[in-house]
Symmetry: C2
Subunit: 469 residues, 2 copies
Amino acid sequence: AASSPNDNSEVSSWVTFKGEIFDITDFVGLHPGGNKIMLAAGGALEPFWALYAVHSQEHVLEILSQYKVGELSAEDQLEKSYNDDVSDPYAWDPQRHPALVVNSLKPFNAEPPPEILTEDPITPNTFFFKRNHLPVPHVDPDSYKLEISGTGLPDTLTLTLDDLKTKFAKHTVTATLQCAGNRRSEMNKVKTVKGLEWGRGAISTARWGGVRLRDVLLHAGYKPDSCSLVQHVQFEGLDKDVTGTSYGASIPLHKALSEDGDVLLAYEMNGEVLPLDHGFPLRVVVPGVVGARNVKWLGKIILSAEESQSHWQQNDYKGFSPSVDWDTVDFSSAPAIQELPIQSAITEPEDGAILEKDSDMLTIKGYAWSGGGREVVRVDVSLDGGKTWCVAELRSAEGEEARPLGKAWAWKLWELSVPFPPDMNQLDIVCKAVDNSYNTQPDTVAPIWNLRGVLCNAWHRVRVTVTTH
Amino acid sequence: AASSPNDNSEVSSWVTFKGEIFDITDFVGLHPGGNKIMLAAGGALEPFWALYAVHSQEHVLEILSQYKVGELSAEDQLEKSYNDDVSDPYAWDPQRHPALVVNSLKPFNAEPPPEILTEDPITPNTFFFKRNHLPVPHVDPDSYKLEISGTGLPDTLTLTLDDLKTKFAKHTVTATLQCAGNRRSEMNKVKTVKGLEWGRGAISTARWGGVRLRDVLLHAGYKPDSCSLVQHVQFEGLDKDVTGTSYGASIPLHKALSEDGDVLLAYEMNGEVLPLDHGFPLRVVVPGVVGARNVKWLGKIILSAEESQSHWQQNDYKGFSPSVDWDTVDFSSAPAIQELPIQSAITEPEDGAILEKDSDMLTIKGYAWSGGGREVVRVDVSLDGGKTWCVAELRSAEGEEARPLGKAWAWKLWELSVPFPPDMNQLDIVCKAVDNSYNTQPDTVAPIWNLRGVLCNAWHRVRVTVTTH
C-alpha cells in the first residue's frame, strides 16, 4: 500500500492521483477551498475531484504536478473491489467515498464530515448519510416487482419499475432525512446508550424523484374513507437478516394518503438513479418523518389496521423518560417515532478548535430542521454559552424559499458572521432553532436522555479557543 | 359591607349565604372538598355552590347552620349590578365569578385559580379564562348578521344566527384554548415584558358546538383550488376600540378549509349558549391555534391574499429572539403565532407551599397540551429540580381518549402520586411534557424570553417545603 514518502507524517500530507504521489504539505495553506483538502489527505484525489468540478482545469493539474514526490506501485494501482467474497452477505455493498466518517462497516453506517454537510443545502449523493440496518440487497431492476396488498384492496397489485415510471405522474420533493440517532454521541456522554455513535451528520437533504404513494394506493383500488379498518401503511424492504427477516416499518395511512403528505416512492435522488446505499431501485421517502420509516429497497406495501410488527417499529425508535432503563422499559408504552422535533447543530467551527483572530470576523455555520413540514423560522446563536444571543442568516435550497404551510420538508442552512468578541479567549458557542409552531430545543441533553439515545435535539454546543498572532 | 365577625382575620374565615354570615374557621379542616372552600372565604357561597351540585343537600345546610355568627344588613343583601353606567364602553360586560384571578378589569382579563383549573378536563364556562382585548359588545341575537365576503367569492353572503343553526350541520369539538401570554409572569421575573401578568391559568378546555367554517365558506361559493390568490381567512369582531376599530385576526386558508382542521363558528360552549365573555352570539374556534385567532363576537369573515392587517396580527402575538428589544424589533421579521408549542404546568401544590408529611404520599397535579393537534404522550415530573424524573399518569376528557392523528385538540390533565422522598425538606418540583412529534419544553425561561412575553413554555417549577408533625 502507499505510504507517506515523508516519515514525519505529523507535519506532511500526501495524496495520490492517477498513480502518482504528491506531497501537498506546502500547498494546504494555498488551496482556494481551504482546509477541505485535508479530507483527501492520505488517499486518492479522484473521488473529491469528481464532486468538485472546479478541479477539471489544466492549470489545476499544473499546480499539482509541482508537488509530485513518487509513483504508486502497479499493485497499489489496481482498483480494489470493495468486497469480492460472494459468501459474505455484504458482498453487494457498493464502494463508498473515503471521506465518510464510518460508524459501522457491516451494516454500513456513515456520515459526512460536518464541513461538507453544510456546504450546500442539497447534499451530494456520495456524502448523504448512509444508515443501513442490514446488508445491501442485490436487486435486478429488470425483474424487480413491487407488491401492494392488504385490507381495503380488492387484489394484490404487482408493479414493475417500468410500470411505476410510465403509469404514474413523476413528482419531485426536496426533503431532509434524519436518523433518530443523530447526535447520539452527545447522549452517550451523559450515560451510555445502545446504538451507533452518530455525530451531528446523520441528517442530509436531497431532491427525490418518483411517484406519489397516494397515486399508487388509489391505483391499487384503495377507496379513501371506505374502510376505516385501515390505519397504517406497512413497508417491507428487500434487505434481510440471516434468518430471512426483512427490514420493515409503517406510517399512518393519513400521511400516506394526504395530498399534502408528499410521500414518494422514489427512484431518483438528486437527478441520478437511486444509489445502491439509498435503496436502489425504489425506496419510500416520507417527508418530515424519521429516517427509519423511509424504507429502502422497497419490496412490499401492505395496508393494515396495525402498525408494522417489525422490531424497528415495535421495540426500537421510540422515546422514553430518562428514568426508564433496560430493566423497566415497556416498548408498548411509547408511540413509534414518526414526526421529529425541532433540531439544529453547529458544523463550523469544530468543538475544540483553536481559531486565529487573523480577521475581525468570526463565522459560524450549521443546519436547522423540524419534522412534520414545520418551517424553521429562526436560529439563535450564542458565543457565551447561552447568556446572550444573535440571530443567524438562513439559507434555503434553490426553489425551496417559499414553501406552502406545513410542507417545509427541507432544512435550512444558517450562518452567523460577527466580530470576535474582545477579551474572550474561550467561546462557548451554542445554537438553537425555532420552527413555525414556535417549538424550540431543550437547553440540555441529560433531561431528554433515553436508553436508545434517540431524539437528541438539545442546544448544540462547541467550545473553541481564540488566539492572536 | 360585611366584615369578619372575628377581628383576628388572620386565623378566621367567614362566608355568607342567603343573607347570613358563617364563621367557617373550624370547618375548613373538615370540608370534604379540602382547601377549595377557601376560594369562597370573605364572600358569598352561592356562586361556588352553583358549580358544585353536591352542596344541594339538606345536611349540608345543617352543617353550615352550626357556624352562623350573624346576618348581613339589608343594604349588603342588595344584588349589585356589575356596571350600570351606560356611558361606560364596558357597560355591557357581564358579571363574573368572584373566584377568578383578575389581571385587568377593563378590558376584562382573568384566569381561574390553579386548583379549579385542573379539577376536570372540561373547564366550567364560569371559570374558563377570560381574555378580552376590548369591551364586550352588545349584540342583539335576533338582528345579528354574519357577513362573508372577499376574494374568490361570487358575492357577499349574509347569515343570521338562525341560518347558521338551520342550514348547516352542527359539529362539536373539544378544544383547549391558550393565550399566547400564558405564564407571562415567569418571563417578567427574567426581565420586564409588555403585557398582562398571566399566571399559568390562561388556558382552558371546552366542548364547542357550532358549524364548520369549511361548510360556511363552501356554502358562500368558495371553490377550493380555484383561486390561488386566497391564502388567508380574516375575522373581524364586533368589539371595537374608541376609534371604532374592531378586533381582528386571520388564519391560513388551509387550516380553515381542511376537513381535518375542525375550525368552528361556535354558538355553544359546554352545551350552553355561548357566554357574553366568550363571544356571544358567535365566535371562531380554531383548534390547536393560539387564542388570539379565535375571534369572539364574530362580525365578518373575509377571504384574502393577505393576513389580517390588524395590530394584533401584524404587530403583536409574534415571537422574537431574546436579543430583540423595543428599539430593534421588526415585527415583519417574525411569523404571526398560529400553532402553539408543547406546554405543561403544575397546578398543585402551589409555589412556596408548606406540605405536612402527614401521609406518606405526595400528590402533584397539572395540565399538558400541545398546539397543532399534536397529542401529549408523556409528562415527566422531577422532585429534585430536574436531576431525576418520574412519569405522571395522564387523564383525558371523556370521549377524547383516542383521537385521530393530528387532531388531539384537548389538553390532558396529569397527576403523580409518589412517596415523600426521605430526608428532603425542600422539593424543587418540575414538570415537562412531550408531544407525539417528540417535541419537548426548554429547560429555562431566559433563553426564550421575548419582549412581548409570549410563548413561555419552559419547564414549570414550584418549590415547596416539607414539614413533619
